[in-house]
Symmetry: C4
Subunit: 251 residues, 4 copies
């Protein structure tokens, strides 16, 4: 089996595993529990990703090259101890977004932005709550407050009623801020590109119009030259290649 | 009567109903009253929208399709218990904006942005105040503070002197933040598109200039060929089709 | 004297009056004084603007039209009681910016943005301090804090360590926020337009290149036709118009 | 030795000096120490920059002109007492970024933005901490908090949990805010330009397609004229220049 075939077959199972992980991690963080079932699901989905990683590495045509080009997949798999980083697995959910968005650049961007924003807020709230909820002195203590904090952070509003105090929580906040700036940039750029395109279409139409008189002039010229040829031919005796002349004129 | 005719006739009454609702809801929230007159006006305008919804559904050529394509209108009508959502009716006010803005893309965008920003701040302040004013521990207690809070939220400044603490108030804040990002994107994109257009016009002018020598060369060529034809015709006896030659040259 | 001549002559005196006003108002607000000298200067510069307004109205070709098109100048002149609005006079300072910026659209925009941002921060800090400094419970009490507050507002950072509590102060803040969004939009749009232009220049170059073979083909064609003409003329007796043929070929 | 040669030779030593300065200054600020080793390194790297400045001034072809065009280098060298300004030396580190980014405008912009953002946050945190850490009442007391403060400032989130209270700290904050707005503008503009380019490429393709029929028409015309020439030549006696005619046709 080639790597390509494996990727196609493993795509949906991996997506399911990512969603199971998301659900289990959500329960663990929001309920603030240490239940065995949840732990089993989290480590089970982790095992699925580890197995997939090694099968990919085994099937890759150039293993060393694949290894260095997929260091981010290694990070997702090898760092289960850093809990918020597990949420990087959710990136595979964006493959669904890719399918919904279709081919048009801008509609795909819009769907990506909406999907990524929702995912970022949810994952950021989870990761932030996970980092802060058991720390004395922190003020992000419930999932509702964590979502609200993620929202004020990603939109760069930053009221300051909730903010992280741990290093991990602040790293999550940094990710949300960077994501917010990227989303703002994408929204603005999509609108700008849509506006510019309508102008560009007008410019193209104007240029087509500028081309028209040249083409017209050329047509008249050919008619004239054809008349000239006919004039000359009329004076000649019937030549050996009248059919060829007709053909070239018909072209 | 067709649906199209009904829409044209009901347009202005619906706009009036939306404005009456806005006034009554404003009084109810700002004065924090339970007066009967206000309640009657609010439920009366609601009835107007319900009637309009069912007439539209009855007159629609494809009722099922219209139902699924107008779920947002159903939400406006069917959820009067969720008070802030009633303000979605104000969307119909933007039809006036559409008329003021005219045809030019950018001036329309500017009028939309100004109108939508004013509407968003007013509606957001009303909805936020409605959600927060009777909750103990909340800090948005007067309409002035609510407008100030809506302004700092929509511009993403977020001082943090006022912020919502209820779920409903935070949903209103989320709407204001998203609106603020959209407005910022539209303003930036309009300016960018205006700047790019001036560059595009220059590019088009350059291309027209590049076209000019080609056209000039073509003109000279036709003159030359016409001289050639005249030369040949002078050597001939008066032919049978001089009129046709004249016509084709005149073209 | 025509209105045009008056405008040219009064330009520099008005600029000086605006700067004297700025200095006097700055002293009054920052020192928080009621000194007579300062009051005299403020009302004196106000008188200069009133006189200029009425001379302009008198000299205008169409007085009624000029009146309605210059309502903003009336507002600057007629509302000296609303102290922060006096700062609208500073707009005339931007005429200097117009001169520095030169003709290029983007460099002018950059100079405008820098000039307007500096002016906005200074004027906003003054107006905000003027509105807040004598109000109990306010936290903007010194000019340094007011400038810092204006800066955090215009950049939409909004720490929340300083914020206005009066209606007038909040209106000033609203102006700063709107100004900040406009400045952000202009900066982004300038950069975007500069990047897009470099792409447009490449596109134009490509199009010029596409034009080149057409021109080349046309040149060859004319050479061919000229040879044809020469061929025919060689067979004729010296005709009556050889000079004309030479002339048309030389063109 | 010319100035150009000196610049090439001194480039790497100056970069090393800037990095030694950064390290020494970092240790001094973060550890909050007055150790002699650190002071020696800071003043030593300062001496390196002073020497380079005067050698450049000596080697410059037009010394007075070079002096006025390089006032910013004088500021870096002459103001060692204002400690945060020493960090301006780090600008020379961006030369490395210039090399990594390569030639493509957008990829270079991205590398610049990432490099500049990281540098700004680090330098801003250092300078802010240096200004605030020994001031009673300030809340930026550790390097971790300073980095967090710089991050919330540059992204314009501004929670308000940490903020500067000294004039120097607020100047650093102003620099971070301006840098943040510039970075946001660059990110948005890069995305917009990338989207616009894909549209421009399509427009160019359309225009190339519009050019095609003109070229085709022209080709047919030349074939026609060539046939005409052949026709005429066939009627003539072998002339003196058949080879030239053949050559011009082959072209």
């Amino acid at each position: 089996m080639t790597q390509e075939q494996w990727r196609k077959r493993s795509e949906w199972p991996l997506l399911v595993a990512a969603m199971v992980f998301l659900a289990a991690f959500s329960v663990q963080v929001i309920v603030n529990t240490e239940a065995v079932v949840v732990e089993v699901l989290i480590w089970g989905t982790w095992a699925v990703f580890v197995v997939d990683y090694f099968i990919n590495l085994y099937l890759a045509p150039h293993r060393v090259r694949w290894f260095f080009r997929n260091l981010h997949e290694l990070a997702i798999v090898a760092l289960p101890a850093l809990r918020p980083l597990r949420l990087l697995r959710l990136v595979s959910l964006l493959q669904v977004v890719h399918r919904i968005g279709g081919n048009a650049l801008r509609s795909r961007v819009l769907v990506y932005v909406l999907g990524a924003a929702a995912l970022l807020i949810y994952a950021g709230a989870l990761a932030g709550l996970d980092a802060e909820e058991n720390v004395p002195g922190a003020n992000i203590k419930t999932f509702g407050d964590a979502v609200w904090w993620a929202l004020t952070t990603i939109t760069t509003v930053g009221y300051g009623d909730y903010y992280p105090i741990t290093v991990l929580g602040r790293c999550v906040a940094a990710g949300l801020m960077v994501g917010g700036i990227a989303i703002l940039g994408l929204v603005t750029a999509s609108v700008a590109s849509w506006m510019v395109e309508s102008v560009a279409v007008e410019t193209a139409a104007e240029l087509d119009a500028a081309e028209a008189p040249v083409f017209e002039e050329l047509r008249r010229l050919r008619t004239q030259v054809e008349r000239l040829t006919a004039l000359l031919e009329a004076r000649e005796e019937p030549s050996a290649e009248p059919s060829e002349a007709a053909r070239s004129t018909e072209n």
